[in-house]
């Protein structure tokens, strides 16, 4: 698979080695019914201070890729047969379990989708936040609690000092997600992976949480991988986008170009299925068909059974990621036609 140059997309990124680089990553799950190929050769990179949005529907492999980076895949049944995950130039897949543990939380942190189930229900938020400092920095219980209050203030939780001993269920959804963010920020990591951080929230709260995340990212100059299926969330905060389908990246582009001129029929379909005020009254577009079963991915381009442009070649040949302009790539045999339409 061709690896295209993506550094052009990052404003102000002067480094030669990206903060994180995923190279030809494959992840499969061994199930009773066979081998499910969840990730099939993903390449992407993130620089410090940069936001990469990974877009895709459920089963596209976007979360599995993130879990592989984080090192929290269940293995078995999961397996990484091929690929490299370079963090600051070092392949994390070649590291020992203990080395990886020291990176988790300290250098790379993760924010999960559902804060209620992702926080431990029987421990106070202060304990769970303070745990980061106690384990990674050896702070005392008391000092860790003071740090926890500081963090809660940082993510603008009102009356942090009084609420530090409260339990997750005593907070509202938005506040809980702020606690998740605070936990990820605790040790000022260099990379944050946010897996659908706002999906479980009300629309108004979504915007607040997203703004907070973007602001803190700028302040600490962190790399951010934002995993989402919501194109609306992406537009304001991302620098570049990678669209995933059936375990492959089908399109990458700087954020604004993808909205104005998608180079892959799948991205185009996604954009057309967003409800828009100027199309009020018209039927909403929907991509026909269903996402592929990962046990039996269609031959050729995985998207071909659902693609309005599919030709014979699409059913036989897997498209490579064609360079489609500066910082852009499209894994479509007919990317030119798609762009030009």
């Amino acid at each position: 698979m061709t690896v295209i140059d993506e550094t052009a997309a990052a404003p102000g990124a002067a480094q030669t080695t990206p903060l994180l680089e995923v190279r030809d990553l494959h992840v499969e799950f061994h199930t009773r019914d066979g081998v499910a190929k969840a990730v099939n050769g993903v390449n992407y990179s993130v620089n410090a201070g940069e936001t990469l949005a990974v877009l895709g529907e459920s089963g596209s492999g976007k979360s599995v890729t993130a879990q592989a980076i984080m090192g929290i895949l269940d293995m078995p049944p999961g397996r990484i047969p091929k690929g490299e995950i370079l963090f600051q130039g070092q392949d994390m897949l070649a590291m020992s379990g203990e080395q990886r543990r020291r990176i988790r939380g300290r250098k790379i942190a993760m924010i999960f989708q559902d804060a209620l189930s992702s926080l431990n229900p029987v421990l106070s938020v202060g304990y769970q936040l303070g745990e980061m400092f106690r384990v990674h920095q050896g702070l005392s219980r008391k000092a860790a609690k003071a740090k926890a209050i500081e963090l809660m203030d940082r993510v603008r939780i009102p009356a942090a000092a009084e609420r530090v001993n409260d339990y997750p269920h005593q907070f509202s959804g938005g506040m809980r997600q702020r606690i998740m963010i605070a936990m990820a920020l605790a040790l000022e990591p260099e990379l944050i992976i946010a897996d659908e951080p706002t999906t479980a929230l009300d629309v108004t709260v979504q915007a607040q949480v997203m703004d907070l995340l973007a602001e803190l990212q700028r302040e600490y100059n962190m790399g951010l991988i934002l995993i989402t299926h919501d194109l609306g969330v992406v537009a304001d905060v991302a620098d570049k986008i990678a669209v995933m389908y059936a375990g492959r990246i089908v399109e990458t582009a700087p954020v604004h170009e993808i909205y104005s001129a998608p180079a892959h029929p799948y991205t185009k379909g996604l954009l057309q299925s967003i409800p828009r005020l100027d199309r009020k009254g018209q039927e909403l577009y929907a991509i026909k068909g269903l996402p592929p079963n990962l046990l039996h991915v269609p031959s050729g381009c995985a998207f071909n059974p659902r693609c309005p442009m599919a030709q014979d070649i699409c059913r036989t040949e897997v498209p490579v990621l064609h360079p489609a302009g500066p910082g852009r790539g499209s894994a479509c045999h007919f990317w030119k036609e798609t762009l030009g339409e």
Binding site: R101, G105, F112, S117, S118, V122, V135, Y167, H169
Partner: protein, 307 residues
């Protein structure tokens, strides 16, 4: 919280009255205690009537019950068949049984939780299957069978432990009876812990704990075990009462003169004060253990608040 405790204490009153009355009726149905005193000989009718009158047995059952309860609250539990006050027997028997129960409880908790954790963490593997097979075996065999078998092999044949435990025996001697007494409960604890651990190890918050970069030991003890033990602690608490009552069989096997021994003697000699008195105390212990568990539940799981 205070109001909850008061409400629970009030709820105990009807439970207490109901259970003790049932016991009273059952013991009454055992047969004629006066006839039992004379053994095989036929008692002189006049003497029998006198004894009956002295023991308040010439009144209808509900009146007898009220009279008995009234006496209990003044601390008078009546006299055993030997003529000793029942309270004196209790003073001897309960400390013995309590010691045995504590030994059994410790074995049940430590071994049961240990096996359950091992099996839960290694679901579907050899350790898991072994624990499941072992616990199934323990549950399937009655206590008196395991009791006599262990007594014979460990106690007599191999001489690893005392086959009988005398009064004032050291705690070490109680280990074998403790294992027998704990057996079935231990199996339940192991299975309960296994299920709970297996369920919680798939929880989102556990994935978070790993993602935080916590060492595995901390992930398991602080995050996994803390959550998984909530149902187990509930079972362990209610089981204290069960262990004390279950000691009847174990004490008989190892000739321990505890609550079980006295109860057995009471039933054998058809002596109502002994049987009802001991069971009443057991009921109280059971109720207290239950209340304690419910209160502990709120401490372990902050999502539960009593009002």
């Amino acid at each position: 919280m205070g109001r909850y405790v008061i409400r629970r204490l009030l709820q105990m009153v009807p439970v207490f009255i109901g259970t003790t009355f049932l016991i009273f009726v059952m013991v009454y149905a055992l047969g004629d205690p006066v006839a039992a005193m004379f053994g095989d000989r036929a008692p002189d009718p006049a003497t029998a009537a006198q004894i009956r009158h002295d023991l308040y047995l010439d009144h209808p059952l509900p009146v007898q019950y009220l009279h008995y309860m009234g006496q209990i609250f003044t601390g008078n539990f009546g006299k055993a068949a030997t003529g000793q006050p029942v309270t004196e027997l209790m003073g001897q028997a309960f400390p013995v049984t309590l010691r045995l129960t504590l030994v059994a409880f410790a074995i049940e908790a430590v071994v049961g939780i240990g096996l359950g954790l091992l099996a839960g963490l290694r679901r579907g593997r050899f350790a898991d299957s072994s624990v499941l097979a072992f616990t199934l075996l323990v549950v399937a065999i009655p206590t008196f069978v395991t009791g006599y078998l262990l007594q014979y092999f460990v106690g007599l044949k191999w001489g690893l432990a005392n086959p009988a435990v005398g009064d004032g025996a050291p705690l070490g001697d109680l280990i074998l009876p403790g294992i027998v007494l704990a057996g079935v409960s231990l199996a339940y604890v192991a299975r309960l812990t296994r299920t709970s651990v297996a369920e919680n190890s798939r929880a989102d918050y556990l994935r978070t704990a790993v993602a935080k970069g916590l060492p595995r030991r901390r992930v398991v003890t602080v995050h996994l075990l803390r959550n998984s033990l909530i149902p187990v602690v509930t079972f362990l608490g209610t089981d204290i009462g069960g262990l004390m009552a279950g000691a009847v069989v174990t004490e008989r096997i190892f000739n321990i003169h505890g609550v079980g021994y006295q109860l057995y003697q009471g039933i054998l000699r058809q002596n109502p004060p002994t049987v009802v008195g001991f069971v009443t105390i057991l009921v109280l212990i059971f109720l207290a253990a239950n209340l304690l568990v419910d209160l502990l539940y709120a401490v372990l799981d902050p999502r539960i608040r009593y009002a």
